[in-house]
Amino acid sequence: MKPPVFEYHAPGSTDEALALLGEHAWEAKILAGGQSLVPAMNFRLASPAILIDINGVDELSGIETAADGSLRIGAMTRQNVVESSDQVRAAAPLLHKAMPWIAHPQIRARGTLGGSIAHADPAAELPAVMLALGAEFHARGPSGERAIPADEFFFGLLMTALAPDEMLTAISIPAQAPRSGTAFVEFARRHGDYALAGVAVTLTLGSDGTCESAALGLLSVSEAPMLAVQAASALVGTAVELSDAEGAAELAAGEIDPTGDLHASADYRRHLVRVLVRRAVVEARAGIEDRG
């Protein structure tokens, strides 16, 4: 199928893109990698009057490692660049582990980090991973730049904290703390399909060997990508034994608000979350190097 008629702009800089966005806001959509937007347009599920193609804005791509080890990744950085980046593997192992689960290599060659985050599909991997990483999103609009923490960014189905005249420009990810472990697990009908459920976990142990902090990002089990807050706080203070993982899994299954579709009922998604959270927490705990 072909999309409805639209007007196409290809700005060469962020400023130019923002000016166009300021002019057309509600009518315009930003075209990043186009791996969700273009199919949606072809199916006529989306029909923006104006497309602002930012693929020619070079300043939006690239990965920088700051002095404190944290990463700043340009919103237009291709997913396969993130996937094969040594900087990402060193500073954010969770992100590195999750990348191969995103769709297929052809899609990751075109899809961008920022595009997936701004699209905010609850079934996508990157939003849930960003929540578990405690990432921060940099947005620019007419009134300048602001930083939005990941847990204040995702509101509902495909809804984010971005204003219509704002665009996502970069993503900051803190360096993984010492004595931390991570895991990403998901379950899909076939590899590369939208997951029926998925979990991204970060665990950090304190000097006494008990869990100091935990974050669990969940995908495909709610209207928006979400943090399992109760499950994470139940892990804090424990030694993260199997029974603790099971307890967290039970809590997570109670926190979600899944809907049923062609491939999985709400009931089955709840069951999957119970199983996947347990597995992910056990895997993250096992991955912590005990330097103590």
Binding site: F187, R189, R190, H191, G192, D193, L196, L262, H263, A264, S265, D267, Y268, H271
Partner: protein
């Protein structure tokens, strides 16, 4: 789920072109994997097809089809000049039933008898839960 091994012993009478024959069997098994696990037309009460795209009507991809080991038994057909029989469909005919039996065996749940395909994870979850609930303590 992972398909650990898949062995076909096949009889199409006299084998004339082994390479083409193996290709027929590979294709048949791939279709059979689709029948066994994925392919399902979902129609709502108004007769509207609910999964009319290949995003929702699932077919097996290369990563879902196992390596296939093939052997042939040649029992020449008595009534054809070359002793040949058809070879196009045999690969996919037993596939659904044998995967149903393999999954039953792998799950090892007493009272679980799989009498339908496709064996989607969601349906297996329901059937397994049903069997467990009915199982005597």
């Amino acid at each position: 789920m992972q398909i650990r091994d898949y062995v076909v012993v096949h009889d199409c009478g006299r084998v004339i072109n082994p390479l083409i024959l193996d290709g027929q069997i590979h294709g048949g098994v791939a279709q059979g994997v689709g029948n066994a696990f994925f392919e399902h037309l979902v129609v709502d009460s108004a007769g509207q097809l609910q999964n009319a795209s290949f995003m929702d009507y699932l077919l097996p991809t290369a990563s879902d089809v196992p390596r296939i080991r093939i052997d042939h038994v040649e029992t020449p057909a008595a009534d054809t000049p070359l002793g040949v029989k058809g070879a196009g469909e045999a690969g996919c005919i037993p596939t659904g039933a044998l995967f149903a039996q393999a999954v039953e065996d792998a799950l090892g749940i007493e009272g679980l008898e799989l009498l339908e395909i496709p064996l989607s994870p969601n349906r297996l979850f329901e059937l397994a839960r049903g069997a467990r609930e009915e199982a005597p303590e």
